[in-house]
């Protein structure tokens, strides 16, 4: 599903003394099947932006288009539910949304709400438990008896269970250990490829944005200020710095190496693997001379 935002603006608590402007004239377009990373400093409007993508917030100005549905300030609630069927959100600390008596029932909550038959929902719940690497006997346990990492996986399963075609991830790995972080990010990449999902990742990690995304959107003080491929965005370190954002570690390392050796490498190393290759090639060249 293609998603586009045109001149989207949003104010919280409009018409009260607490009124607070969160978005100004945001423009963006996200193609079907793309993997977009949204990066920005704390308070840049990333989270507000993603709430617009499945109608949890309606823009106070402008239009959000999801597939063939347009959301404006006066779209009816019923229309919004249709969008939610196709756009799943994994919120920050999604384990806070668990409530059912058993893991199985909690995963089935979404599918049942969207009218998927009970048998099918149950089957999906078990598939997802396996897919997310949870022990099989977890299905009949209370979600509150699990460890933090397992709760996170159950909550993610609860969103994947209704097979959304657009998946929005709001810092899905915050607070996980490095290994759990990698496992979950790789799972999303796998799903993205196998199911042909349109994935939108909101993250503080420049490394994740560089490694996984094919398109990067930069938010700063409620505006969309940069958009492009990871190479384009992370190639412009000075501009990123003006938005109080850094570079992925591998790119920063490459810059240091380039400075010390006084030569430029042709490509930007977005991951450690690419960095190793670039340096190895440079060393080989040096040796041949």
């Amino acid at each position: 599903m293609d998603i586009s935002l045109q001149q989207v603006g949003y104010s919280y608590a409009k018409g009260t003394p607490f009124e607070k402007r969160a978005l100004y004239e945001v423009n963006a377009s996200i193609r079907t099947g793309s993997y977009t990373a949204v990066i920005g400093h704390t308070g840049s409007g990333k989270s507000t932006l993603l709430l617009h993508l499945n109608g949890l917030l309606k823009p106070t100005e402008g239009v959000v288009r999801v597939g063939d549905v347009s959301i404006t300030a006066d779209t009816k609630a019923k229309e919004l539910k249709k969008i939610r069927r196709h756009v799943g959100i994994v919120f920050q600390f999604p384990e806070h949304q668990l409530f059912e008596e058993t893991v199985e029932k909690d995963i089935m909550f979404g599918p049942l709400n969207f009218g998927i038959p009970e048998e099918e929902a149950k089957q999906r719940a078990h598939e997802l438990i396996r897919l997310l690497g949870l022990p099989e006997d977890v299905a009949q346990k209370s979600p509150f008896d699990l460890s933090g990492g397992q709760m996170r996986r159950v909550a993610i399963a609860g969103v994947l269970a209704f097979k959304p075609s657009v998946l929005i991830l709001d810092e899905p790995t915050a607070g996980l250990d490095p290994r759990g972080r990698k496992e979950i990010m790789e799972l999303f990449t796998k799903l993205h490829k196998e199911e042909g999902l349109t994935t939108i990742l909101v993250t503080h990690s420049m490394e994740d944005a560089a490694r996984y995304a094919d398109q990067v959107l930069v938010m700063h003080e409620g505006r969309s200020v940069m958009a492009g491929t990871p190479e384009e965005v992370f190639g412009d370190a000075d501009r990123l710095k003006s938005f109080r954002l850094g570079l992925p570690r591998s790119v920063a390392f490459q810059h240091n190496v380039e400075k010390l050796f006084g030569k430029q490498f042709g490509t930007l190393a977005l991951t450690e693997e690419q960095l190793a290759e670039t340096i190895a090639e440079a060393l080989k060249e040096e040796g041949e001379r």
Binding site: A13, F18, K78, F91, P94, Q97, N113, F114
Partner: protein, 267 residues
């Protein structure tokens, strides 16, 4: 979604009402609540209403903002009003339309009770809107201090109050977050039968309770770690300061009571 609720919220400002000592405000509101029950006829209820509107004006609170924030409570007031219209059957018959019969006394009682309710809610809301939770607690603790002699745990009560006030906005935000997460999973609170709607609240309440208990535990540990041992020998950073304007407020209150007694019909 709940950002419009203002009950229990504090809006910083610098009006006459904002600058009053919390003790005089608390004393005033507490006595006012009792004084409201002195009213028994049109003149006295009108006086109460005008007085309250005057206080809102002095506190520089926008009326639209106030009433918009109190919408849920206004519904309750309108509901009481209607109940009185329908069920009080005294005095002359005013409207007789099919099965609906409205009597004079019903209208009068309904309006009186609604004003009483409205004035009480407005006055307490003005108190919380113009006084920071910390000042309210400080004021409360000082006012109740004499009761320590009869072994009333004043400090603990004040602490409980300040903690609950402190966590109202936090829990509101939390509710909002959980609500959004469940909406995203297709939960629907605004349509369906009454039974379905009640069941739709469960996915909201369970996570909210879980997180409230977790927060309470974290807070208790954090306090313990920083050596909290109750009120014994504890000094204060903020000193309360009773000024001329606070005495004026008390005099104003006495005048209001005198006027109420004078205008009152009596029985």
């Amino acid at each position: 979604m709940l950002e419009k609720m203002i009950f229990g919220r504090y809006v910083p400002g610098n009006s006459f009402v904002h600058r009053l000592d919390p003790r005089s405000k608390l004393l005033f509101v507490f006595l006012f609540i009792i004084a409201v029950f002195l009213a028994d006829n049109t003149a006295t209820y009108a006086l109460l209403l005008v007085f309250t509107l005057l206080v809102i004006f002095i506190a520089r609170i926008r009326l639209y903002f106030l009433f918009n924030g109190l919408k849920p409570i206004l519904f309750l007031i309108i509901f009481t009003l209607l109940m009185h219209f329908i069920f009080t059957k005294e005095g002359a018959l005013l409207i007789d339309w099919k099965f609906l019969k409205i009597y004079e006394e019903g209208v009068r009682q309904g309006i009186y009770i609604s004003i009483r309710f409205l004035v009480l809610v407005l006055m307490t809301t003005i108190l919380t809107l113009t006084t920071s939770p910390i000042s309210i607690t400080d004021g409360m603790e000082t006012l109740l201090n004499p009761l320590k002699r009869i072994k009333l745990p004043v400090h603990e009560l004040a602490l409980m109050m300040s903690i609950s006030l402190r966590f109202i906005p936090t829990l509101m935000d939390e509710t909002d977050k959980i609500l959004k997460a469940q909406l995203a999973r297709g939960s629907d609170l605004t349509s369906g039968t009454v039974k379905e709607r009640i069941r739709a609240v469960v996915p909201l309440l369970v996570p909210l309770f879980v997180s409230a208990f977790k927060r309470a535990e974290d807070l208790a540990i954090a306090m313990e770690v920083r050596g909290y041992r109750g009120g014994e020998g504890r000094t204060r950073y903020r000193q309360l300061d009773w000024q001329l304007r606070d005495t004026l407020v008390i005099i104003l209150f006495l005048l209001l009571v005198a006027a109420l007694i004078w205008l009152r019909g009596g029985n």
